[in-house]
C-alpha cells in the first residue's frame, strides 16, 4: 500500500487543484529534487555530468517543447532542431552584442527569439492541416540552417559558423566546471518543467487539447484557433530555444549550425514518441532512454567476444533497433513509457493485493 490515497481528502478547491495532489507524489518530488540538487553534485563525476546528465536534462527540455506542440496541441513538427538552433544563436548574439547582459537574460531572450521564429513558421497552421504542415516545419528546418551558415553575422563571422559559449557566470559565481554546468542546466530545466506542467493544465492547455482532438469542433465551441495554435508554436519554440542554448552553452560549449540538423529533430520526435505524446513526466523517461540506450548498446557490444559485432556495424545496428523500437512502441504501447509508470502506480496502490 505504497500509494494508498485513503484519507487524503481535498477540503478546498485550492487543495483539489494543486500540482501534485497526492502526498506521496509531493514527497517523492521533493526527495528527487533534493537528491538532484544536493546529493548528485557530490557523488557524480565529471564524465557523468558532461556525457550523461547534462544531455539528458537538455533533451528532456527539448522533448517538453515539442510535446507541447505535438502532444498537446496536435501540430506535427519536424523542425524542432531549427528552433533549438535559433535559440542557441540568438542567445549567443545577445550576449555578444549587448555586453554586460546577464547570462540568464541571454537565455531568456534566445528563447523569445526562437518563439517569434516559431510563430512565423506556425502562421500557415490555420490554413494548412495535418501532414501538409510538415512542409512548413521542414521549411523552417532547412531555411534556418541555410541562413545560419550563409550569413556570417550570426556566428560573428567565424569561418566555419561555429559559436562558443560565453563565460557561464551568474551574479559573479562561475558555473563553467562540469558540476556548475550541471547545476545551471538542472535549475533552468526544473523551472521550465514547473512552467510547462502548469501551462498544460491552464485554460490554454485545455484549449490545446481541444484543438488536438478535433480542431473544427474546438472552433465551434468558441476556442480561437489561430491564437491557440500560434501560442502553441510560440511556447514550443520558447522551450526548444532555451533547450538549444543550453545544448550549445552547457553541454557542448561550442556548436555549429550543422549540430541542429534534421536528425536532431528526429531525435526529439523519437523522445516524445517513446515517452508518450501528451505527458510531462514522459519527456524525462524518453530522454533518459535516448541518452542511455546507445551507451548500453555499445557496452553490450564491447562485452561480447571480439569480432562478433564489427564496431562499424554498431551504428547501423543502433539505427535498426531504434526503428524497430519505435514501431514496437507504437503497436504495443502507443502511450509510451509514461503509461508504464502510470500502470506501476496503479499496481502499487493495491500492492499486496491484485484487486
Amino acid at each position: 500500500m505504497l500509494y494508498n490515497e485513503a484519507g487524503q481528502f481535498s477540503i478546498s478547491y485550492a487543495g483539489e487543484r494543486r500540482l501534485f495532489r497526492l502526498r506521496q507524489d509531493r514527497r517523492a518530488l521533493a526527495l528527487l529534487l533534493a537528491f538532484a540538487f544536493v546529493i548528485v553534485p557530490f557523488v557524480g563525476n565529471d564524465y557523468w555530468f558532461s556525457a550523461i546528465l547534462i544531455p539528458f536534462l537538455v533533451l528532456s527540455l527539448a522533448g517538453l517543447g515539442l510535446n507541447l506542440l505535438t502532444g498537446y496541441a496536435g501540430q506535427l513538427s519536424l523542425g524542432s532542431a531549427a528552433f533549438m538552433a535559433v535559440g542557441a544563436f540568438a542567445a549567443y548574439n545577445f550576449g555578444l552584442r549587448l555586453p554586460g547582459l546577464p547570462l540568464l537574460a541571454c537565455l531568456f531572450l534566445g528563447g523569445v527569439t526562437a518563439a517569434l521564429v516559431a510563430v512565423v513558421f506556425g502562421l500557415p497552421s490555420l490554413r494548412i492541416k495535418g501532414f501538409y504542415l510538415i512542409v512548413s516545419t521542414l521549411a523552417a528546418q532547412f531555411f534556418v540552417s541555410w541562413a545560419l551558415t550563409k550569413f556570417g553575422w550570426f556566428s560573428n563571422d567565424n569561418a566555419s559558423g561555429v559559436i562558443s559559449a560565453p563565460p557561464l557566470t551568474i551574479f559573479g559565481v562561475d558555473f563553467s566546471a562540469p558540476v556548475g554546468r550541471y547545476l545551471l542546466t538542472l535549475s533552468v530545466v526544473a523551472a521550465l518543467f514547473w512552467l510547462g506542467k502548469n501551462l498544460v493544465r491552464s485554460e490554454l492547455g485545455r484549449n490545446w487539447m481541444a484543438v488536438r482532438d478535433m480542431d473544427t469542433a474546438a472552433a465551434v465551441i468558441g476556442i480561437p484557433l489561430l491564437k491557440t495554435k500560434l501560442l502553441a508554436f510560440a511556447l514550443s519554440g520558447f522551450f526548444l530555444g532555451i533547450a538549444g542554448s543550453l545544448w550549445a552553452f552547457t553541454y557542448l560549449g561550442t556548436v555549429e549550425p550543422h549540430g541542429f540538423d534534421l536528425n536532431r529533430s528526429f531525435q526529439v520526435l523519437f523522445i516524445i514518441i517513446l515517452s508518450g505524446l501528451g505527458s510531462i513526466l514522459g519527456n524525462f523517461l524518453g530522454a533518459a532512454f535516448m541518452v542511455l540506450f546507445p551507451l548500453l548498446l555499445s557496452n553490450l557490444a564491447g562485452a561480447l567476444p571480439v569480432g562478433l559485432i564489427d564496431p562499424g556495424q554498431l551504428e547501423n545496428l543502433q539505427k535498426f533497433i531504434f526503428g524497430a523500437l519505435i514501431i514496437a512502441f507504437l503497436i504495443k504501447e502507443p502511450e509510451g513509457l509514461a503509461r508504464l509508470w502510470q500502470r506501476f502506480r496503479e499496481r502499487v496502490r493495491l500492492w499486496p493485493l491484485r484487486y
Binding site: L76, P124, R127, I128, K129, G130, F131, Y132, I134, V135, S136, L138, A139, F142, F143, W146, K150, F151, M214, T216, A217, V220, L262, F266, L269, I273, G312, Q313, N316, L317, Q318, K319, F320, I321, F322, G323, A324, L325, I326, I327, L330, I331, P334
Partner: protein, 293 residues
Amino acid sequence: MEFFFEVLIGGLLAGVMYSLVAIGFVLIYKASGVFNFAQGSMVLFAALTFVSLHERGMPFWLAFAVTLAAMVAIALLVERLVLRPLVNRSPITLFMATLGLSYMIEGAAQALWGAQVHGLELGISDEPLALGGVLLSQFDLFAAGTAAVLVTALSLLFSKTRIGLSLRAVADDPLAALAVGIRLQRIWAVVWAVAGFVGLVAGLLWGARLGVQFSLSLVVLKALPVLIIGGFSSIGGAIVGGLIIGASEKLAEIYLGPVIGGGLENWFPYVLALLFLLVRPAGLFGERAIERV
C-alpha cells in the same frame, strides 16, 4: 534567352526525377492513407541491393529480379508486421511508424551492404544532345522517358485490371471496399510491392546520377514539396509538382542565387510549396476534405 530555356528544360527534366520518388509515395497514400516517410529508404535499399549484387557478378536483369523480389518481401513484411497491427490508428501514428521503418530499412541496408559509395553505370551516355540550339542531357531524357512509361503502366494498371479497380475502391472508401469483399491486407501488400518497384526504378536512375550511397535516402526530402504541390493522392499531380519544383528550383538558383547567396536549393522548394498551400491548402490535384463535427 537560350540560356533561360536551357536552365528551364534542365530543371523540368530534373523535376521528373523527383516525381519518380513522389509516385511511390502517392501509390501508398492513395491506397492506405499512410504518409510513407520510408520511401526514400526504400529507394536506397533497392539501389544498394541491386548495385551490390551487380558488382558481385550477377547479370543486370537477374540482379533486377532479385532486388525486386527483396522489395516484395519487404512489402509483405511491412504489411504483416507494421500495417496490420496498426490498422485503424490515427494517420500521425502511422506516419511515425514509417519513420521508424525508414530507420530500420536504412540500418539494414547499410549493415548488409556497407556504407561505401558505389558507382552505377546503366549504359546511357551522358553526352549533351543539341536540340534546336538547347543542350539537353541524354540521361535526363532517358529518365523522363522511363517516368512516362511508368506512369502509363500505372494508370493502365489502375484503370484496366481487377487489382487496380479494387485498389481504387480501397482508396475511395476502405470500409465500403471491405464490405464488398475486397481484401484490404492483400491490397496493402500489393501497393507496397508496387511502391517498392517504383523505388527500385527511381533508385537505379538516381544511383546512376549521384552514385549509390546514403544520400539517396535524402531524395525523399526533395520529393516532399513535390507531393505537397501536386497533392498527396494524384499521380499526375506528382508529375506536375515535380516539373514545377524542378524548374523553379533551377531558375531560382540561377537568377535569385546571386542576389541572396547561393545554396538555396535546399529550402526554396519548401517555401514555394508553402506559398502554394496558402492558396490551395490541399495541393493542385488533392481532394479537399470536408469536415463535420
